[in-house]
């Protein structure tokens, strides 16, 4: 990216100054520009009067730009805030802080009717197609509802458009009079995609679009998404946990950990030369459907679980589980997303790690991680116990392949 924002936490205070930076990225034709986005959910307690006792820092300083016509893949484990981010940029969640510039309009400042009209340009495809489609509406009603809300049934023959939509997503015409339960999982997801397409959006946020589907059907939907993009010039934000799927269809990939990006790069660069320790661990954890690779490859096993987003670790969010963690900086200073100067690494490759260069050159070697200080998602305090790190347990820290 040509505008690496040095401070991931920069809020809207920096707004006016950054409009200049925004034009610098115009050469890439940025459709969606997110700056310093934060979404915090209050944790309430109390019987009569709610007291706010803390916050879940679901999205905590996200900066990312999506160019028109590209597919941006956002990956991360469950609980890292990727779905909240997807919902937040459509303003389905209230933003705590930050800007979402969609085609130049700041969505964070929109309200009511203006926001509703803006929503026509950005649509969502949900993970669970059965849960996100009204079981008592036929496909025709489902598709027409959104179009009617945006006044699209008046100006042209709506039924012609419905047939076109169904053809585009590969469903028969007869599907119009059917109810969601009459379809198989893959077909339902096609209906979900048709619904999103019905209002002619520019951006589609697909939140785990294929993870509920069987493998053989997954491929059908992935191909469909690719075809639709080629045909209609859509821009995708693809949120998924399956790294292989994301790599397959994304142009650029961002890796999220506890509410913020830790690494962002073109898909090939990211998978060929992951710089952030978390990305490396994530990639090495993906099971490969090839026994020869599985037998020989080196796996970086992370210890413990994702820390609680209500009580994120200080400094680098990943330092509690990081096999490359250093004594200095890691636990005190939060690394910003920055470009690194390493041979063979593209300029668009950004990483949030203090030691990216040293790790890439092999100067720093991974070490065993003890579990102390790792908080699991349900607990805020944790006693010291080295069960995970101890060598005599059934639980290896790193598997040296």
């Amino acid at each position: 990216m040509s505008t690496p924002d040095p401070t991931p936490g920069s809020g809207p205070a920096a707004g006016p100054g950054e409009t200049g930076a925004g034009t610098a990225t115009a050469e890439h034709d940025v459709l969606l520009d997110v700056r310093g986005l934060k979404v915090h959910f209050p944790i309430k307690k109390g019987l009569v009067f709610d007291r706010t006792v803390g916050h879940v820092y679901a999205v905590d300083g996200m900066d990312l730009q999506i160019r028109r016509g590209e597919t941006y893949g956002l990956v991360g484990e469950s609980g890292c805030g990727k779905s909240t981010f997807g919902r937040a940029i459509l303003r389905l969640e209230d933003l705590t802080e930050g800007q979402v510039l969609f085609d130049g309009t700041d969505l964070a400042s929109l309200k009511g009717e203006e926001l509703r009209r803006q929503r026509r340009h950005m649509q969502m495809v949900f993970q669970d197609p059965l849960g996100s489609l009204d079981p008592r509406q036929t496909v025709e009603q489902l598709l027409l509802e959104g179009m009617r809300a945006h006044g699209m049934t008046k100006d042209r023959d709506a039924h012609e458009r419905l047939t076109d939509l169904l053809r585009e997503v590969g469903l028969p015409r007869t599907a119009l009079s059917k109810y969601p339960h009459e379809f198989s999982g893959g077909q339902r997801q096609r209906v979900g995609i048709a619904r999103a397409l019905s209002v002619d959006p520019q951006l589609i946020v697909a939140d785990e679009p294929v993870s509920a589907l069987d493998v053989s059907v997954q491929a059908q939907v992935i191909n469909l998404l690719a075809d639709l993009q080629a045909e209609l010039g859509l821009t995708y934000l693809l949120i998924a946990h399956d790294l292989a799927v994301v790599r397959h269809i994304s142009d650029r990939v961002g890796v999220m950990y506890l509410g913020a990006l830790v690494e962002e790069a073109d898909a090939d660069d990211l998978y060929e030369a992951p710089l952030h320790p978390y990305t490396r661990a994530l990639l090495s954890a993906v099971p490969v459907p090839d026994p020869t690779v599985e037998d020989t490859r080196e796996q970086i096993l992370l210890v413990g679980d994702l820390p609680s987003p209500a009580n994120p670790p200080s400094g680098c969010r990943f330092h509690t589980r990081c096999p490359w963690r250093q004594e200095t900086r890691c636990d005190t200073e939060r690394p910003a997303l920055r470009t690194v100067e390493i041979d063979g690494v593209a300029g668009s490759h950004r990483v949030a790690c203090h030691w990216a260069e040293q790790i890439a050159s092999g100067e720093l070697q991974p070490h065993a991680v003890t579990v102390s200080g790792v908080t699991d998602p349900t607990l805020t305090t944790h006693d010291d116990d080295s069960a995970l790190g101890a060598k005599d347990t059934a639980y290896p820290t790193t598997d040296g392949g």
Partner: protein, 357 residues
């Protein structure tokens, strides 16, 4: 491969001789009469001590029902189970319920897919884990609690003493799955059935759990039946892989052979439809067309024929049988297909590039 029937192709030299579990012609039918649905249709396989057998297939292929039938966990009504399941010489299917209860949890244990719904939400974890130990090892409550704590520690749960007092909802998904594995392993079973043990988990946690299972098998010689839809998991863990489709095994091969030369068009289709991390981007995925609802009944031919690119006329007329695959390179492969694949659909088989990382 001496006097054994073709259904047990594993050379005796590999295992400890006798199969630990032998499933013969297992058939599970739900419902009766015209509405009857055969979820599992004559499944045969053997599991030897220390061996990991994979059952792979998509939802609805009967893999979970197979495991439930083996464990005798199918509901008492509404289904008919046929065939034989022999565990260490005893027939599990005809065994009286009280004897079966003695075996379950002690000799044969199971890990379920969703750890939250398979743990009792209103009982502390310690009681649940200790229960197995009390029941099968005859320990008293406090001894059992201590053993439970040791088990939790073994599967990598930090601070087990405190965890024992906690309820399932207080644990993360990975922790819950570990607790479930601890329960399953508490009595050192000889056979472990893992039904999609990592499907609900994140990749990094999945890697932890798979490493744990791998170590258990290699250390304690526990036999493992791994039920999964994820070919990646199979590639790293299983010795022998059975691919199921519509309730029948359509292909069986050793792990390396299966991935190197898939013979059944369905196996090939599965392999070709998954995106891979180690290949050129932009390869168009070749999905298996249609869905399971397109199947024809096995009695009329090959159930996969309507979705199969290799289908020939005979596929819709004659039911293929599971026979040794003589043309294949592997020595102990079974195949149920009239017109098998001759070339790997994933031509650019990924090479070992991982070392460079």
């Amino acid at each position: 491969m001496t006097a054994q029937p073709i259904t047990s192709p594993r050379p005796a030299a590999d295992g400890a001789g006798e199969a630990l579990l032998s499933v013969r012609d297992l058939t599970v039918t739900f419902g009766r009469g015209r509405k009857a649905f055969r979820a599992v249709d004559g499944v045969d396989f053997d599991v030897y001590p220390g061996q990991t057998v994979g059952l792979v297939g998509e939802s609805g292929c009967g893999k979970s029902v197979t495991s439930l039938a083996i464990m005798g966990l199918l509901p008492g009504r509404g289904n008919t189970v046929g065939g034989r399941v022999t565990f260490a010489g005893e027939d599990l299917l005809s065994m009286p319920a009280d004897q079966l209860r003695d075996r379950r949890g002690r000799d044969v244990a199971m890990i379920f897919q969703d750890p939250l719904s398979s743990l009792n939400p209103v009982v502390p974890l310690g009681v649940q884990v200790a229960e197995v130990i009390e029941r099968h090892k005859g320990r008293n409550r406090s001894d059992a609690q201590q053993e439970a704590a040791a088990m939790l520690k073994k599967v990598g749960i930090p601070d087990p003493d405190r965890r024992l007092k906690e309820y399932p909802h207080q644990l993360s998904g990975g922790m819950r799955q570990r607790a479930l594995i601890a329960m399953a392993l508490a009595c050192e079973p000889r056979l472990l059935i893992a039904d999609e043990p990592t499907t609900a988990l994140d990749v990094t946690i999945q890697a932890q759990i798979l490493a744990l299972l791998k170590e258990l098998v290699s250390e304690s010689g526990t036999a493992l039946i791994m039920i999964t839809h994820d070919l990646g998991v199979v590639a790293g863990l299983c010795d022998e892989v059975n691919v199921l489709y519509a309730g029948r095994i359509v292909e069986r091969a050793q792990r390396h052979d299966l991935f190197a030369t898939p013979r059944h068009p369905y196996t090939g289709g599965l392999l070709a439809s998954i995106p891979r991390l180690h290949e050129e981007r932009g390869r168009r995925l070749t999905p298996v067309p249609g869905s399971v609802s397109d199947n024809i009944p096995w009695e009329q031919g090959c159930a996969f024929a309507p979705r199969c690119a290799n289908a020939v006329d005979v596929c819709r007329q004659q039911t293929p049988t599971l026979v040794p695959d003589r043309d294949a390179v592997g020595d102990d492969r079974l195949l149920r297909c009239h017109n098998p694949l001759t070339a790997n659909p994933v031509d650019d088989t990924p090479t070992v590039e991982e070392d460079a990382r």
